[in-house]
């Protein structure tokens, strides 16, 4: 079906990303703006592959300090303890709340890593002009889009732990440098998912020119 399917692009039409109105641009090179909502018309998201790659690489770089550096520094009566994200998971597990430990492990460690792998796979498969598993790849993209926000969980946990535990001089909690990198991973992968154009999955290798 893919080879013969009539897409808007094949028919010389552009669908507005904002209001879904179909337009027939006068100049194919410069589709201009949507007549109804004024949004910028594009055959495919601008430089989708390059932008997404750049963001994925940046996120992968931040992923390392996010996991190595401490996210919380706890001071109890003068002595300081540092916890990384995995340390926080272990702490939850040891205090007996393993369901929560699992939730945090999935949201903070597995989801960001899974997103980086999934986006890289989507990018490589599109660049190689793959026409296989289109349905599965589309589903994977939807999953990445849907699940990405949940990685922000640990940032919220740290924020509210810091905000509440300020009982100087008995006990206080300060944020560590890891939180910033962790938040950066989440934000960068979310923007990466937004800049990836799922329609590229369905364009066969022949219409790759849309990404130029």
């Amino acid at each position: 079906m893919t080879a013969t399917a009539l897409t808007a692009a094949r028919a010389g039409l552009v669908s507005c990303e904002t209001c879904a109105l179909l337009s027939r641009p006068v100049e194919a090179a410069e589709p201009g703006h949507c007549r109804r909502c004024g949004g910028k018309l594009e055959w495919r998201r601008h430089h989708s592959i390059q932008y997404t790659w750049a963001l994925v690489v940046a996120a992968a770089i931040c992923y390392i300090p996010a996991n190595v550096l401490p996210v919380l520094n706890t001071t109890t009566l003068g002595s300081t303890d540092s916890d990384t994200i995995m340390g926080g998971v272990a702490l939850l597990y040891n205090t007996g709340s393993w369901p929560l430990a699992l939730v945090v492990l999935i949201a903070s460690v597995m989801v960001p890593l899974g997103k980086l792998i999934a986006l890289s796979y989507l990018l490589v498969s599109v660049q190689r002009g793959s026409i296989r598993n289109n349905h599965d790849r589309t589903r994977l993209y939807r999953l990445v889009e849907f699940i990405g926000r949940w990685s922000m969980l640990d940032v919220f946990v740290d924020t509210f732990t810091v905000a509440l535990i300020q009982l100087q001089p008995l006990m206080s909690v300060e944020p560590g440098a890891g939180v910033l990198f962790f938040a950066a991973v989440v934000v960068l992968t979310m923007i990466a998912a937004e800049s990836f154009d799922p329609r590229l999955i369905w364009d066969s290798g022949a219409i790759r020119r849309f990404d130029d």
Binding site: M1, L6, T7, A8, A9, A11, S15, T18, A20, L21, L22, R24, P25, V26, P31, G32, H33, C34, R35, R36, C37, G38, G39, L91, L92, T95, S97, V103, V104, H135, T138, Y141, R149, W150, M152, L153, V155, F156, V157, T159, F160, T161, V162, A163, L164, I165, Q166, L167, L170, M171, P175, V179, L180, A183, V187, M190, P198, R199, W202, D203
Partner: protein, 210 residues
């Protein structure tokens, strides 16, 4: 346009297809990739408007009332959502504080504000074309509004702290819970196509296909 319904291109795979006029409560899915192309609610403007008004009130409560209180060895502490972000800022994590404030306060607040204006404006068509611009902003805020993630984060923090001190959820906590439900309800009942039908066209550039 004698033909009821319209021709659309699937936003996820670009397949051209005809979407028939839908009866209330039904959905149209893309023939090829299964993406939801359109859904028809029975009251696509008034119900989301009522829900958004409710959300505006609950939003104020959620941001001004304490989320939770803590007492340990005779000391009391409590925090609100903006208070959490502010403490991060005070501790020198300005960027993280900004991300938290954006996802927990600015994005949901802006979403409510833009939706409220959009929905009020389209009740008396033709709506001026800046309404479309507002709707676009509202939709771009949507992925960054992370109330449901925040509430789970607060719960995890509560359970962690419960090891050390007595913690009690406050009014703000229940308000955030209510807000999560209201946001979901707005997204389910609202149909952006209904707004686009009523908005004045900006009209420049490309030829339009019917």
């Amino acid at each position: 346009m004698n033909d009821p319904g319209e021709i659309v291109a699937c936003p996820e795979c670009d397949l051209l297809q005809h979407v028939p006029e839908l009866s209330p409560g039904t959905k149209a899915r893309c023939l090829r990739c299964g993406n939801t192309l359109a859904s028809q609610a029975s009251e696509p403007i008034d119900v989301p408007l009522a829900l958004t008004l409710g959300a505006a009130v609950v939003f104020i409560l959620a941001n001004t009332q304490p989320l939770m209180g803590l007492s340990a060895v005779g000391r009391q502490a409590s925090t609100t959502i903006p208070g959490g972000a502010y403490e991060m800022w005070q501790q020198g994590e300005m960027l993280t504080a900004a991300v938290v404030a954006f996802c927990a306060v600015v994005a949901p607040g802006a979403y409510i504000l833009f939706m409220l204006t959009t929905l009020l404006a389209v009740r008396w068509p033709p709506a001026p074309h800046w309404v479309g611009e507002l709707l676009r902003w509202a939709e771009s805020m949507q992925p960054w509004s992370m109330l449901e993630v925040m509430i789970l984060g607060i719960l995890v923090a509560l359970i962690k702290i419960a090891e050390l001190a007595t913690v009690e959820p406050g009014i703000g906590m229940y308000a955030v819970g209510g807000l999560v439900v209201l946001f979901t309800a707005i997204m389910i009942t609202f149909d952006p196509r209904e707004v686009w039908k009523r908005v004045e066209w900006t009209d420049d550039g490309a030829e339009v296909v019917r």
